[in-house]
Symmetry: C2
């Protein structure tokens, strides 16, 4: 709780008792039959106190709702106006809408689908092609054994409570979160200790056990939001969509919760394909599924989504990256663990500094953080609303070496859109163990290396003489000693010639003499190292990135005559769903012919575009296309030259008909910029 809030809550408590005291005073004056002027003056004082209390309440309300009261309202309004535009122009559609939809399932309509396809195309260019990654494409249907090995069958759960009468299900943590937030925001009378407690609960919510969540629900008297019925105890619900493979009903399967497992199980083949060399990366784009208990936050938390995942396999002893220097000089908002713990905020740090100081665990992790930054900002994500947040110790899996989330700020707060984790050897080991197939890499030494190895050589003959039938068990026990045990025995034998040795398979101590075993450290030559590679995994939630892009790209500006606000998406050409519109200025056969010629040439060049031959005013046609985020409009107003208009500046140039398509192609392919066009062609007003 910040200082302002705390001081206001205290003042409010003081003022509240003052109001009560004065109220009592008024009542007792009235009861004692005091004079009218006396009573009036007491009532006036009471009104004054109430007014003061109201003022403090309002200030507190403003502080609580995040810096100025109107901000959270305007956030809500902004989100609504983006959502209205997106839905009206079919960027997305609630799935199966005519059947009243299904929570957490959305379609991409035509412009949304084009944006998704552009984002994925750029992802392939920026990651797969640039790094020569091995892209694979595995099925969504996955047999149970794979997801048992990965831990999803056991651990991919959320805690759920049920309305005890209707059976409606809720996420236990969501109910507690809602309760705490509601209390903190609406109940101004709670004391600072209570405020601190509620805030603490919110902070540790993710770490609470089912029992702890259950007792909080009881303690706070939380009931089912829709019916006020009592709730069951929390219990885990597995978030995977379950199904059955084949007709027998005996082969359970799941719709994959991530695409990564398909890559891990193919490690052996992919390593071979890469010439048995490390490092290399495999990549996959595909659908993933999460049967959310009760989806919220619109497009951000859905039951089916597209993931783009990279698994970069690397020698755990060498996590350098050959192209690291290409990103080392980048500088952007980072939010290391330490800064989060000490209550600071994210700050701009040069990537090279974060890596050299060990804030980021290794070069390869740093390289991918840099590449993700470039990817997101080139798509049009605002760099001032993008930060890389390091996982706190309690957020990270025990096996992970380090983990950073690319978080993008939107009206819902800071949203995790890309996770970049060093998962060490965990996944390959898990599948290796479950399948019995070794998933290993080798490093062949250019020349053999000398290593010291412990050698335990029992002398069979002597053991046989001493222990007869127990000989074999003694021999095995000797060979099973670890280095320390063996060296201790060696020392004792050298000192005393004899030592007591517990053979657990015989459950007794036996006396071992110096002639029964030779223990030594010997130098051996090794020609290679065999090890399980580490994996560094950048994992992209494509739908979340696209939603944030929608918010970061949206703005409004007044129409020409100032009577309305027009919506614009400032998508870069790379992302824009349609690259240009072609209008004849007026309905006219000649102009329409020219428009068709230009359209044909754009199609041949693979430039998505739209012809608009409606008779609507040119201003309305511009407004329509701005709202779809179309960066360029070609207006045909003669048979020799056309006007090309840029969406955001609204600047226009005159270009010969024969050059129109190639100018648009150049500037949408990224081979030229609007500035180049602006300086090469005559301007137009």
């Amino acid at each position: 709780m910040d200082a302002a809030e705390e001081s206001l809550r205290k003042s409010l408590a003081v003022m509240q008792s003052a109001v009560e005291v004065q109220g009592n005073a008024v009542r007792s004056l009235k009861a004692s039959g005091a004079s009218k002027p006396e009573i009036d003056s007491a009532i006036k004082a009471l009104s004054g106190l109430k007014l003061e209390k109201d003022t403090i309440e309002k200030q507190l309300q403003a502080v609580i709702s995040g810096g100025g009261g109107s901000s959270s309202i305007s956030k809500e309004a902004f989100r609504q106006s983006v959502a209205n535009t997106l839905e009206r122009r079919l960027f997305y559609i609630p799935s199966f809408k005519i059947y009243r939809g299904v929570a957490g399932l959305y379609d991409y309509g035509p412009p949304g689908c084009a944006i998704k396809s552009n984002v994925l195309g750029f992802w392939r260019q920026h990651f797969v092609l640039e790094e020569n990654m091995l892209e694979v494409d595995c099925p969504c249907v996955t047999p149970e054994i794979v997801l048992k090995a990965s831990g999803h069958v056991e651990k991919f759960t959320d805690l759920m409570v049920k309305d005890e009468k209707t059976g409606t299900c809720y996420r236990a943590d969501h109910l507690i979160k809602d309760f705490c937030n509601e209390k903190l925001q609406k109940d101004l009378s709670i004391n600072p200790e209570k405020v601190a407690e509620l805030k603490h609960v919110l902070a540790v919510l993710d770490d609470l056990s089912p029992e702890e969540l259950g007792s909080k629900i009881k303690e706070y008297g939380i009931t089912a939001p829709d019916t006020k019925n009592p709730l069951s105890d929390p219990y885990p619900f597995n978030l995977m969509f379950q199904t059955s493979i084949g007709p027998s009903g005996l082969s359970p399967g799941y719709m994959r919760p991530e695409t990564a497992q398909g890559i891990f199980v193919n490690f052996k083949d992919l390593y071979y394909y890469n010439g048995n060399k490390l490092p290399f990366a495999a990549a996959q784009i595909g659908q993933a599924f999460r049967n959310e208990i009760s989806p919220r936050q619109g497009l951000l938390r859905v039951r089916e989504f597209t993931l783009a995942e990279i698994e970069h396999f690397v020698d755990p002893e060498d996590k350098s990256h050959p192209k690291y220097s290409e990103v080392a000089n980048l500088e952007f908002l980072m939010f290391p663990r330490e800064d989060q713990m000490s209550g600071q905020s994210a700050k701009r740090i040069p990537l090279s500094e974060a890596v050299s100081k060990g804030i980021v665990n290794n070069e390869t992790l740093g390289y991918f953080i840099g590449r993700v930054y470039l990817f997101l900002t080139r798509l049009g994500i605002d760099k001032d609303r993008l930060r890389f947040r390091q996982h706190l110790a309690n957020e990270m899996a025990h096996y992970a070496a380090d983990c950073w989330d690319a978080e993008i700020e939107c009206s819902y707060g800071w949203i995790e859109c890309v996770g970049i984790a060093d998962r060490s050897a965990y996944d390959l080991r898990a599948h290796s163990e479950k399948s019995g197939v070794p998933l290993l890499a080798q490093e062949k030494f250019s020349e053999p290396r000398e290593v010291e190895k412990l050698v335990i050589a029992p002398v069979k003959k002597e053991l046989g003489l001493a222990f007869k039938g127990n000989q074999k068990k003694v021999l095995e026990a000797l060979e099973a000693m670890n280095e320390k045990e063996a060296l201790d025995m060696k020392a004792a034998l050298e000192l005393k010639g004899e030592v007591q040795f517990y053979v657990c398979t015989l459950e007794k101590n036996l006396s071992i003499k110096q002639n029964m075993v030779m223990i030594s450290k010997e130098k051996q030559k090794e020609h290679q190292r065999v090890f399980t590679p580490s994996v560094i995994e950048p994992s992209f939630g494509i739908g979340r990135i696209i939603y944030c892009l929608f918010e970061h790209s949206f703005y409004t500006r007044p129409s020409k005559d100032g009577d309305e606000q027009l919506n614009v998406f400032r998508f870069p050409p790379l992302v824009a769903p349609i690259k240009c519109t072609v209008f004849p200025l007026v309905q006219n056969q000649q102009f329409e012919e020219v428009a068709k010629v230009i359209s044909k040439s754009l199609t041949a060049n693979g430039i998505s575009h739209k012809i608009d031959i409606t008779g609507t005013s040119i201003g309305k046609r511009y407004a329509r296309t701005d709202e779809l985020g179309v960066p360029f409009a070609v207006t045909v107003d003669s048979t020799s030259a056309v006007t090309i208009r840029e969406r955001d500046s609204k600047d226009q140039v005159r270009v010969p008909v024969t050059e129109a398509a190639s100018v648009v192609k150049g500037v949408t392919d990224g081979h030229s910029t609007w500035e180049d066009v602006w300086s090469s062609f005559p301007h137009h007003n």
Copy 2:
């Protein structure tokens, strides 16, 4: 059964009895103690007959296995050699291989995944962009109500039988098919009548009811293939993967069996998006699922696959297509229904002729058939092994107006890869009915049209006087009459002044007089037509197309020293997984630097490629890259110029280092051809 087979079977039967007769003769000679020369001569005759029988058997065997005996063996060998190459070079990988896989699930490995991505990219260019289609992207998880409306919950089934002891499941029709084929191919002794019967069963297999299939299984004594146990009666098994949406267990859902339904349920929004104008097409690329009972045929029949579907919505009264003339002159193999019925084979027909003669139902269907032909052949499908086969009446859904499959011939026979169906208004009507949301289009008339309409005007006052409290029910019954009933009543009233009229809500006849109702036909003006659009659906099985492409692209050629056969895929540059390889001729720092410069420039141009700096011989490196279908290889053998080699001709040209990347880009983008390159640069031996 063809004439040759029939005549051979007859000869074989004759020869068989001749052998038997002669065998008996030998035995009776021996029994009667005939002389040795007599017996020897009879035995010699028997051997002669047996030899003749063998010859006939061999001929018959050859005829049965399809034109020459060795052909089916070589088909099998060819398929195996393609499969070996595909699997060894990771074009595909059996999914979850380290867990011993799951039947019917395959991964695309790196080159396969790149080919798939290229095929889909070209599909988008050829269909979506070229036709300005509205592409959408809907979830795979689908609630039950949608698939009830579409008919999948009830009808998307195969008939299954179970091994009564082990519970193993089989497709009933597959068992019968295997039995008949085995009998026809291996049992040479069956008579022509039996052969005809088995062939008839194979022909009508798809139309047999569960009961008919069951009785065939009994009649033929078919048992479980693995155990020889008896089989259950056939019963329907739904092929959709079922799951449950949300945690309650009360919302059944399925993994979609096709992507089309996602488009149909969005018709209303998409029609609005298109400015309420017809025709327009929507398209979708995505995963679809089919829980096959027992998948066979490798990559052709799988449990999860990528579909690319187009739904072209059109006015049922006007199925012309504005771009039809662009494909009308194409000529390719077509196999109309009539020709199939009369036992002819597919023949080359100009598309314009097929449409004008009404063999293809309408222009739009014809247009898409033409576009599909262009799509497939540009990918590299051999036009002589591609045919368009019209569905027979019994194959087509009752509502379909016409349906053609693009079938591609491969080692498995003719495989349906694209279906192009005119589904009339069926799907939109089904969803409209189930959801209660009208899915309609309007045609506004440029000027109002006059139409004759029936008007039934009951006279309330007279009805009230005559029927008192029943007045309302009589009035409703009168208004509910159809045109014929009303006109009959009008005629009767004019003739007799009175008529008996059965009011079903009152369950009695009443007497209606001429003054109680006025019936007339009036001319009215209509301003628009409201109707359910027809939909023409081209639906592409991407995995099947890719598999056929593998077979059509594969060939072998001897290595330089002739000691082995090398594999080559002749993928066109458009499809090739990697567009070029860059080799330094020998391991050498300077050459490697040049290779890196060229590689960087290729990456910047978006050209997928591979550097091979191993010291392997140049011949081996070419062989490796030919086997991946890489069309061009750039060999660096100086710092100023390189050699570019074309895969199939093995021709080589000398190109300056600075131009290497742009030459490769031009010829892979399709902006130039190898012939252009060949004529512009010096040749190299």
